[in-house]
Structure formats: structure tokens, C-alpha cells
Symmetry: D2
Subunit: 263 residues, 4 copies
């Protein structure tokens, strides 16, 4: 019963291959998100956390990732200090580089455009941090649904135009000493569709969004260009990846546009 439990992971490996990322994936854990102009929000996250592994070690210690995640959760800092948790992982696993990504649903209050009826809307968001020795890099991600109304359909039809839900995905990397709120990145995306979506719409609101989308037709090409222009206006953003996918109401496939740039 008191068998000595050998540390297999610490054994030498002779294959001569250093591994870039080794860790845990699909870890479900609650996260604390600081909200703009509001109290913190607790969200359900999926985490992926890894370190680099030198060529001479057989394996990493997977349970330590879970211990670090839980320590930071317990002290109410998981999601708040991404760089801090990476330094902790780097040290506890004695690694050159550490990486973490959290994907979570984030709720933001929204009010209808005319009736002002209020509710919350959920957005898929992500935090991603990379620490290579002392160099830190952070990526902020949002997926924002909007309406797109087809300019071609509007132009060629005697009346109406096909429209649909579309999804704008944005991932940005920005100056570490600055801050960009999820709320602001979501708003930026919402301003680039034909119209934004709302959780509650009364009749007067439905009239408004219907007419607004028709007055503001956009291809996925238009959406992505407008997003890019707005991202470039923000001088602290250093690079971005943008996608727009429209779930066409007249097809069973999507229209899609994609851009990745370092500014």
C-alpha cells in the first residue's frame, strides 16, 4: 500500500523532440469577468492551458494545470489577471513558455431601439494569453451576431430583399498596457451590420429594425471592410483577425469573408 509512486513524467526522453504545447483542454471552470460600468460577471468557461516541454523530458505534470486554475478561481482572479496566471504556470511547471485560452458566454444588457424594453444578450467571447519567457501577448475575441440585408437582392427586386443572421468574429491583439472592454468591441461589431440584433423587440421596434436593415444593405464584404476600418482607427490595436459569415436565407450555405492583418 505504501508503494513508492515513481514520477514517470520526469524521466529522460531521448527522441530529441521539444514539444511546443502540452497541457489540458476542455476544462470547464467558472471565470470572473470585469464589466464596463458594472459589477463583475461570473461566466462558465472552457479552458485550454499548456506549456512548452523541453526535448529531454518525457512528460508534463497535467494535474498542476488544474491546481493553478483552481487556485486562481478560489481567490476570485481567474479571468482577471491572465498574465499572472501564466507566470504562475510557467514557474510551477518550470517552462519557457505558457499559454492559456478561455472561451465563455458573456451577457450584456441591451435595450430595444424604440420601446427601450430591456433584457440581456449572450455573446461568445475569448481571452487568450501567451507568455514566451518575459514577453506577453494577449488576444481578445468576440463573436457578434448581426443582421445583413443583401444589396444585390434589394437592387434587383421590385420590393423587399433577403436578409439573415450573420456572425462577425473578431480577435485582436493590442498594447499590453492599455485596455479594451468586451462591451466596446461588441459595439464596434454591431455597428457594422445592416442592423444589430436585440433580445426583445416590441412591434414599434420590429418596424424600426426591418426598415433600418433595408436602408442599410450590406454584403459580407461590406461588413468586414467596415469592421477593418474601425479597428484601424483604434491606435492601440496591433493586429487582428476578422471573419463575417452570413447564414443566407435563400441558400443552405453561408457567404463568408476573412481577413488577418498586422498593423
Amino acid at each position: 500500500m505504501t508503494k513508492f509512486l515513481k514520477d514517470i513524467q520526469n524521466l529522460k526522453d531521448t527522441r530529441g523532440i521539444a514539444i511546443q504545447k502540452v497541457g489540458v483542454k476542455d476544462v470547464e471552470i467558472p471565470l470572473i469577468i470585469q464589466r464596463k460600468n458594472d459589477s463583475d460577471q461570473i461566466v462558465s468557461a472552457k479552458a485550454r492551458m499548456s506549456v512548452s516541454l523541453p526535448q529531454n523530458y518525457k512528460g508534463t505534470h497535467m494535474s498542476r494545470f488544474m491546481e493553478v486554475l483552481d487556485e486562481w478561481r478560489a481567490k476570485n482572479l481567474l479571468g482577471v489577471d491572465i498574465k499572472g496566471i501564466l507566470k504562475d504556470v510557467q514557474q510551477k511547471l518550470n517552462a519557457q513558455s505558457a499559454h492559456v485560452r478561455f472561451n465563455f458566454k458573456y451577457f450584456v444588457k441591451k435595450e430595444a431601439p424604440i420601446s427601450k424594453a430591456q433584457s440581456v444578450m449572450g455573446y461568445d467571447c475569448s481571452f487568450e494569453g501567451n507568455l514566451q519567457k518575459d514577453e506577453y501577448n494577449f488576444l481578445l475575441g468576440v463573436k457578434v451576431p448581426v443582421t445583413t440585408l443583401c444589396p444585390c437582392s434589394k437592387e434587383i427586386s421590385n420590393y423587399s430583399a433577403h436578409n439573415q443572421r450573420a456572425l462577425i468574429k473578431i480577435i485582436i491583439n493590442y498594447d499590453e498596457n492599455q485596455h479594451i472592454w468586451l462591451e466596446d468591441l461588441i459595439k464596434l461589431a454591431e455597428s457594422c451590420g445592416s442592423c444589430e440584433l436585440y433580445p426583445i423587440l416590441k412591434r414599434e421596434d420590429e418596424k424600426y429594425v426591418t426598415e433600418k436593415a433595408y436602408d442599410n444593405p450590406k454584403f459580407v464584404e461590406d461588413v468586414i471592410r467596415d469592421v477593418i476600418l474601425k479597428l484601424k482607427e483604434n491606435k492601440i490595436i496591433k493586429s487582428f483577425e476578422v471573419e463575417c459569415e452570413a447564414f443566407e436565407s435563400i441558400h443552405n450555405h453561408s457567404a463568408w469573408a476573412y481577413q488577418k492583418e498586422t498593423i
Copy 2:
């Protein structure tokens, strides 16, 4: 090395609990589908196959399901004779009841309404068979995307109307001695939206579908009622389950309607 390999599944079980369904799930296997007015189509299916297990047996023999599936695949009859495969399973596993469900993507040729440009469109379909002793029951299922255009949005707005992709799901049970083609059930569903979807639409077609949807506004309630009326017209259908879900272009949630009836 020549150890006697005991049949654990055949052991007695004393818990006194007969199990309704025991088997395999998410088995990936090619299926042969007979097409209306065309040669057969080979599709990629996911299969779930099970039998009932009497209370005095510890387990079923899982490998036999795979053997039966493969035998029928090898003789080019998997998907063709659902009752036959269930009889085979029933006998090989010495079971009172047997059940199988195949889910697969089925391709149907479609031509654009004006330009007549042709391509194929994929539909999620299912075959499900139940054999209780000698009593056989078959369920045919289709998921058919259509356009829905909101009657309320059309009425209250000075111009345009929000529209979106919606999904109609139909599962029917019908007289065993009759046949209903997937193609016909798909067409029935497509005739109940504001407009149907197409793989290729040229400009003249896009004008047509835009105007047709506007001329034919439908709530999910309208869609489901029209599907139900058409199903009831077909005298060989004995029961049905129908759903319509519209992926609202103005919300991030769906409008949804559901009905299950035995005629």
C-alpha cells in the same frame, strides 16, 4: 496463450431488471439509398442499433451488431431493407425486440426557378425501424431548410420584412406496405415555407425568390399548420412529429413550433 475466453455477457444477472434497449451508437457506415427516378445513392450514415435484453442476462454481444451491419453493407442492402436487418439482429442476438436508426445526408438535384441552373442540395434524413416480435414500425425523417418571411414585420413596416433560414423537421410513420420517397417528403416541406432554398441562384432567380418570399409571408405557426394539413391529406401516414425553427434575423434566438399527432 490458449486461455479459454469466458463469455461474460452470457452470465446470469440477478438484479431483476430487463433493459429496453442495449446496443451500439454513433457507428459510422456507408448506406445505400434508393432514389426516386434515379440510380442508388451511397451516403455516410451514423447508425444506432439495439435490442431488448431479458432480466436474466448480464449483457448483450456488442460485436454482433457490427457484424450484422457489415454483412448488410457488404451485400449492398444496408439502408434498403430495414425490416430485414432487424429480423437478422433479432435472431442473431436472440432478442424479442430490435431497433435501428440511421442518420445521413442525402443529396437531391435542384434547379433554380428561372435560370434553371442545376446543382445538388444536401438534406439531413433518417430511417428508423422498430421490430417488436413480429410487429414492425418504420419512421421516415427529413430536415428541410426553407425561407420564412415575417407577416408581422411586413404588415407594420413601410417597406421590406425580416426573413431568415428556417428548418422544418418531419418524422412520419406510415403503412408498412406502402412507400413514401424522401424526395416527396422534402418537396412537401419545401412547399410550406415562404420560399424554398436553392444551391445556385443567378440574378434573375434571386429577384424571384426575394419577391416570392415577400408575397408569401409566414410565421412558424403558419409553416407548421401547412405541413400538418399536407401530411393529413396523405392517407397512408399514420402518425407524425413536426417542428419548425426559424433562426430569426432580428434576434439571436429562434422562433419555434412543434406538433406530434397520431391520425
Copy 3:
């Protein structure tokens, strides 16, 4: 501009078809869950909410579902009083029957069996309520991952046995005047696998779970029978639906067992 906004939904419908369920689906909204021996937990839920629609009405008022959901969220009762929200919906939509289902990830603290290292583990859970006039019915659901180790593989092999993650799904209906905690239903399920899962396992724990699973081999048939026996011991449970799916480590498909019973 001050156009009268006609209530299209209130129009007469002449097709003669009453619809069983009409409403909203995939609504994302935070929920409050009362925990056993702990403070409340806020979770991210997906909601489906519907009412019955009499044959003479064209449509239901979709925005009212969202208003009711948001009102109950704002007063911190969404998830707490399912019957209350259904009565509210029934009244505001003037419906005979109302239905709601919430699916959410629920976190429970777990400690490792030997080291007692603590963290949280997430479980997919559901609340479902049906109100038919005055008759109320509640369904509680959990999906609980466990380890299963194959009795056949253990018996026939000279050493070791294949094992894998398996998922136990339980949905129960019970006496409305009683209460069953999510924590207790989860524990019931976890006690029926070959071993339970843990978020953190140190070396001494890993030895323990490895040996425990080997000492406790179970087919999906064994798991489901043990779950059924335990559910039947609880006299307030009136009906149940149980599934066990093992993601076989030696196959690319699952072993599966299913039972639905009214006691």
C-alpha cells in the same frame, strides 16, 4: 410615420389546427440555481419556452416570452420558481398550457479521493416544467460522466482491461411537493460507474482510481441497471428516463443502453 401597427398575430386562423407548442428556442440567459449546503450559483442557460395555441389564432406573441424571462431574471427568480414562471406565461399569453426547459452547466466542488485536492467539476443539467391548466409537472435532468471498465476485457485478458469515459443521462419526474437536489442526483449517478471522475488527481489518487475501476468492472448494462435500482429506492420519483453511453477506448463507436419507466 405614426402608422397604426396592426396585431397580425391576433388575426383569426381558419385552418382548424390547434398547435401544441409555439414559442422561443435557444434563448441564452443567466439562471440562478439554489445549491445544497451552499450559496446560489449563477449559470449560463439555454431556454426553450412555449405555449399551446388555439386553432382560431394566427400566432403567439413571441416578445412576451422574452419579457417574462427577463422579468424573472431581473427579480433573481429565474431557475428558482419554475411553476411560477409558467403561471405567469400562461396568463400573459392567455394559454391553456405552458412549457419551459432550461439547459445549463452546473459546477460542483469535488475533492480527490486520497489527496483531498479540491476543485470544481461542471455537469450538464436541465430543468423542465409543464403546466397543463392547473396540473404541474417537473423534470430534473443530469448528465454525469464516469469511468467504465469492461468486465469482458478484464476476464479474458492476462492483464489490464479497456476502460473509458462514459456518460450517464438521467431525467426524473417526482412528487411536486418534494425536492431532489442536483447534487444528490449527480452523486447517485457517480456511484454507479466503475469509478467516478475528478477534476484534480495527484499520483496517489491516480493509483486509487485505476485500481478501483479494475476492481469494479461494469458494462453499460450494469451501469444502467444499478442506476435504475437506486432510482426505484427513492419513493418520491414517479418516472425516469436513463441512458448510459460508453465512448469505447477500443472502438470509434459507443456502447449504449436506454430505459424509460413510469413507476
Copy 4:
């Protein structure tokens, strides 16, 4: 009725932003795959196809992607000549660069190790082609499930070891004038787990795979290193991306390793 249908996509755009990729996504279409030592296989694919769009054009012509896909499908070459279809798209859309990705389930015959019982097993595969002016690049991808048995669990436990299904993902780029079969890349991956998976296993086979996995324990770190070594042995491979994810039987999360290299 004979309205002139203006070509909106051809309008000038003045925002000054060229778009890297614009096209269609989630197009469902049958593909023809050439098999090693066997006749062709028809599979169900999801396609994503795009071109680059110069800054002075408002939009691309989405229907032309569908026309090209369908033409190549109709002449039984979709999936066979990726470079050919990209040249066609490049020309018809007058684009500098063109890109296509097909994801599909591919079936390969497998026989059990001892009983030689035969069936088919499905693998998620992908073809991806990039054409930048005249420069062509092809990526071949496979996702291959295997068994992994934990070396640490084996070492520290008095008997048995936890094992589970794991998924190896490989994407390779190789010399355009050479060919690598899907079958060979799948076999390479399968040789790197603790044991490979099979569709049918009789009792003697189950004994074999149980003992083989125990005799051959591997962390995800071991699996990925062995895959990398074998990829590097193949001199026509120019770069690769490899992942191994083990769906731990003792946790509700995965162990994960990742490597991306240009050789």
C-alpha cells in the same frame, strides 16, 4: 418584369481595403476520392471556397463558386483535381488567389487483429488547396482515433492502467509532384497510439488489444513525438501540424499536445 438587373457586386468600392478571402462556406456536396488499391469512393463533403478581392470591387459573385463546384461534380472530378478547380475559379472570378477546403468522412476497410473479422471505419479527412497566382500549395488532413494507455497510471498502480480514446490530428503539406495516400497517413497515425481502434472485435481480438495497449503505454507527449518522427522520415513532407487529444477516462477534460513545424 423585364427590369434590368444591375450587377451590384461589380460596383467600385472606395474604402481602399482589399479582402484576402471572400466566398462560400458550409456548402454540402458529394466528392470523389481516389482510393489506394481500390475503386473510387463517393463521400459527403463540406466545402469552403474563396478568392481574394481587390480593393476597388464592391463584391465577388457568390453563385459562380457554386457553378464551378457543380461543374466539377458533374464531370466526376470534384476532389480529384484540386489545382484544376482552383485555376478554374481563379479565372472565372478573375482573382489573384483562390482557396478551397473540403472536409469529409472517408471509409477504410479494417480487419480485426486475430479473428480477421472485417468491416469499415470512418475517418474525418480534409483536402485544402491554395493557389496564389501560379504558386500552388496542398494540405492533406486526417483525424485518427487511437487508444492511449497512461504510463504513469501503469507504473504507480498495482494492476491495470487507465486508458481512453484519443484523437490524432495531422495536416501535412508536401511536394506537389508527389502523392501521399489518405490510407498511408491514417496508418502512420494509427501506429503511434498505444493500440489502434477497430470496428469489429471478437473476444480473441479484445484480449489482444487490451494486452497490447498495456504493453505499449503512451502519454499524448509520446504519441505526438512518435508521429513527428515518422513524418520527418518522409522526405517529401515540407511542413506539418500535429495534435493529440486524449479524452481522459479519469477526468472530464482532455490531455493535449500540439506541434507545428516547417521542415
